[in-house]
Amino acid sequence: MVVQALAFYLFATIAVLSATAVVTVRNPVHSVLLLILTFFNAAGLFVLLGAEFLAMLLVVVYVGAVAVLFLFVVMMLDINFVEMRQGFLNYLPIGVLIAVVLFVELAFVGAGWTLTDEAVAVLAQPTPAGVGNVEALGRLIYTDYAYIFQSAGLVLLVAMIGAIVLTLRHREGVRRQKISEQVKRTRADTLEIKKVPVGRGI
């Protein structure tokens, strides 16, 4: 158990420190990289909790896909750091307000989790006995709550279509490669063999 405890404190410390650094470092690219470090340590904490499937999903989805897009966008920003610091005090009250609300909510959740009997019963056994992580989650999502899951998927699909429709624009005069036409082309369409008489040309 000592090793688990040590690992927990290692992951937790790095996660908290890097999460703090995400909002304090000046360079936004460093911010994103630290965010990735935070995700990674959160995945480590999931592994310690015995939720290895969630841990891997966190890495695949958040670190491997979402954060890459973040990084892409942030890398291409042309930011004046001095200008960015100037608005800091203006936004401070709103930021503090949001932080306080989130903190209070988290405290409520935490208190509820430790106090109610139901929560304690679930806490003692994260997955039903004899069923693996993946299977337990799969049963929940695809059997017990299949309709809710499907509607969540539909919402995402609609959001995706919306984003595509909003950014879609047709440009005039763009020549596109049509591979099927290229493949369909025969020799007769493009080549004409001519006998050229000597000394006269075509």
Partner: protein, 337 residues
């Protein structure tokens, strides 16, 4: 004291020994993969390849490694130093740690994870960071363009790889790599590539793109981008990228062998007396040979064609295959328990 030894130190020593037993041969394999590459391409182009250093040029990779080791490490003044140094290390480490879950033989695996295939997928999806960080930290346009291309390419082909893995998993019913291999025991006709043949081809092409190899080596297109994301790297920092890239090739070949070519199992049942690890290594060599063969044969893809192939052809195709396999399994009631 005894508890400390039995509970912690002895397992630790064992694990370190096992890790070394994987990593050291891997690094040697990387060195000789570069040699094999030059020899194979030389043979295809009717040249001799390296033949001066040592018998048959066998010491050439060592000489190359020594050269890189002795050169000066240059860090550009305008580079973002921390990220610049971390990037090659990250690439190298990611290429190494993925080997923890690869089963070499029955029970011969460092960590027999229940979510082994997801672990591999997660690690390979991190590979893009080493390259993007390198390109950004170099603070140079060539490197940055190379990194952007490479990032877009790796993210695109990861999706089709993921879908192909899903269709293999559907027929196996487990995320454990050893279980995937155990599902293919019994000879060549039991291997997954027979049942998933179209996806086997798509997978081979996708891993070429995922490892940034020819004909999809746009990130390091010498003609346009000098050498892509690693232009500004020299000496050992460059060597780490190089090692990482080749270790990744071997890893992807191993994954291909596990998923489609039956891992450690023998192609014909009466050949079972040969140790499984040897079959596994032979299969890796076979896939690696395809890598080299393709490099010597095909011209480089144009960037828009690469994206078209990934998003408009491979993605729908692998999606359709997942649906087909799932439907088949449900209709004929063959879903693995």
């Amino acid at each position: 004291m005894e508890l400390l030894w039995d509970g912690y130190i002895e397992p630790l020593v064992w694990i370190v020994a096992k890790i070394l037993a994987i990593v050291v041969p891997l690094l040697v394999a990387v060195a000789y993969l570069t040699y094999a590459e030059r020899k194979v391409i030389g043979a295809i182009q009717l040249r001799k390849g390296p033949n001066v250093v040592g018998p048959f040029g066998l010491l050439q990779p060592l000489a190359d490694g020594l050269k890189l080791f002795l050169k000066e490490t240059i860090i550009p003044t305008s580079a973002n130093k921390g990220v610049f140094i971390i990037a090659p290390m990250l690439t190298f480490i990611l290429a190494i740690i993925a080997w923890a879950v690869i089963p070499f033989d029955e029970g011969m695996v460092l960590a027999d994870l229940n979510v082994g295939i997801l672990y591999l997928f997660a690690i390979s999806s991190l590979g893009v960071y080493g390259i993007v960080m390198a390109g950004w930290a170099s603070n140079s346009k060539y490197a940055f363009l190379g990194a952007l291309r490479s990032g877009a390419q790796m993210v695109s082909y990861e999706i089709s790889i993921g879908l192909i893995i899903i269709s293999v998993l559907l027929t196996t019913g487990s995320l454990n790599l050893s279980d995937i291999v155990r599902g293919q025991i019994g000879g060549v006709w039991e291997w997954n590539f027979v049942y998933h043949f179209p996806m086997f081809i798509v997978f081979i092409v996708s891993i070429l793109a995922e490892t940034n190899r020819a004909p999809f080596d746009l990130p390091e297109a010498e003609a346009e981008l000098v050498s892509g994301y690693n232009v500004d790297y020299s000496a050992m920092t460059f060597a780490l990228f190089f090692l990482g890239e080749y270790a990744n090739m071997i890893l992807m070949s191993g994954l291909c062998a596990v998923l489609f070519l039956g891992g450690w199992t023998a192609p014909l049942p009466f050949l079972d007396f040969i140790p499984g690890a040897i079959w596994f290594i032979l299969k890796i060599c076979f896939v690696l040979f395809i890598f080299l063969w393709v490099r010597a044969t095909f011209p480089r893809y144009r960037y828009d064609q690469l994206m078209r192939l990934g998003w408009k052809i491979f993605l729908p195709l692998s999606f359709a295959w997942v649906m087909l396999v799932a439907t088949f399994l449900v209709v004929f009631d063959k879903v693995p328990a």
